[in-house]
Symmetry: C2
Subunit: 279 residues, 2 copies
């Protein structure tokens, strides 16, 4: 599969502008657009590409770097306008977005749902970096009907950003994302939310550990809400598991001194982090 | 209050050996001991002090850098042997340990319960560093009967390590520690524990965010169990709050698309992290 020559990036936020910068670095012709003219101007100013103009030939790949809630309508619109041969997106959840796109009559044979991992708590084109995806996994979740050439084109596009493409089913992606991303985000947020009413004395005692655990809670609430409501079942199931674990632990603590269950939980936690560092 | 000239450190693990190294750097005469001869030898080898020998004059301050479960018995033993004029410890929980010491007939007028924040997930004298406490809070929780000169001596000892002494009541300490340390640790562990049975595919998708949230779960399970069972009520109450929050969120997710509550939780989380970075 030959590398894409022309890529159109719809949405010039952190992810879109970073992908655009990375592709420009590799000599790809990049056209940009954004519903916010100031954000588009900033991305163009930063050298991420030129403005998308009417009557240009279709791009090899159109990357929809827009919030999860608008991926499906943006795809429908872009396909209606014939903006490209192949389409992909960057949303953190896949199954539901594919269903939404299908519901809007999109051509799924040319749509390769994608999700570059990484990005962190920041947003906006000002924070964009050509190396944002360097050595990060970029998940690709083609449906049964997606054309293989379309998958190949998006795979090459991801590779050009320095990312490692990883093809898996949309449902497997969403279950995994609930575990490694969506639930950790909600957990971090719930813990950080306790701090809103904390005594200033307590905050003085906070160390690096608490800062680590709550760092990702700084992410955009609207964006994350859009993601988790689209991955409701896997996320809810894991939250229930954690709620049950917390309630058991609270009961054990109140019940007296036997630390057996608590030590076992902490030991399983240590095993889990060890697995993570083995990857 | 003049600075302590002689300090005896009981327990030559990460915290004890780091405090010893910091005090040696300031010219304090440090004697060390440990129930594990190999650990003691390593701490001595690293220059953290000389071995505690019989028939030496009492130290100005005896620092009990032993696990929470053995602080009270170690204090009773040290006081019976007349090892020092003033005693302190480094355990992450205070009220219960004071009660245990009282129950063993310790002289609480010479005991200044302490807790240096910091240390992280590592342990052992090999990781000890003279700057471990640099600019970290070192909480001191004297009881009503603690002699002011004893508090002064321990305060100066903490200052000599580069830490910032911070005097507060034991109950206030424990409530704060549940919020900023014990519950975050359990939450991190519970999340990391989910990874023990995770599909390898999911682990491949794990990024920096999950690593941040689960980092502290690498801590010593026995040590942390000793801490949290001694701070049962404040820890259990917060775990219940979180369990209720998770259950509400899971119900909202299953109930359909209204993201209002979830967005509100995420927004409160962002406020909480902002408070933390303002400290």
């Amino acid at each position: 599969m030959s590398a894409p020559h022309r890529v159109t990036v719809i949405g010039s936020g952190l992810i879109g502008a970073s992908a655009a910068l990375a592709l420009r670095r590799e000599g790809v012709e990049v056209r940009l657009t954004d519903r916010d003219p100031a954000r588009l101007a900033e991305a163009v100013e930063r050298g991420a590409g030129i403005r998308l103009a009417p009557l240009l030939p279709p791009a090899d790949v159109v990357l929809l770097a827009v919030p999860p809630a608008v991926v499906a309508p943006a795809l429908a619109d872009a396909q209606r306008r014939g903006l490209g041969h192949v389409y992909s997106d960057v949303a953190g959840v896949k199954t539901e977005i594919i269903a939404e796109a299908d519901g809007l009559g999109c051509d799924l044979s040319a749509f390769v749902p994608g999700h570059p991992f990484g990005g962190g708590e920041t947003s906006g084109p000002a924070r964009a970096r050509a190396d944002l995806f360097e050595n990060r996994i970029w998940a690709l979740c083609p449906s049964a009907g997606t054309r293989p050439e379309a998958v190949g084109a998006v795979r090459r596009t991801a590779e050009l950003t320095g990312a490692i493409p990883y093809v898996l089913g949309a449902e497997a992606h969403d279950r995994a994302a609930a575990l490694v991303s969506h639930v950790p985000h909600l957990v971090s947020s719930a813990l950080a939310a306790l701090l809103t009413e904390a005594d200033p004395v307590a905050l003085r005692l906070a160390g690096r550990g608490l800062r680590d655990v709550t760092r990702i809670a700084a992410g955009d609430p609207d964006l994350w809400a859009q993601i988790v409501v689209r991955n409701a079942r896997p996320t809810a199931d894991l939250l229930d598991d954690l709620a049950a674990e917390f309630r058991r632990t609270a009961d054990d603590l109140r019940g007296g001194r036997s630390a057996t269950n608590i030590t076992a939980l902490l030991a399983r936690g240590r095993q889990g982090t060890a697995r993570l560092s083995d990857v």
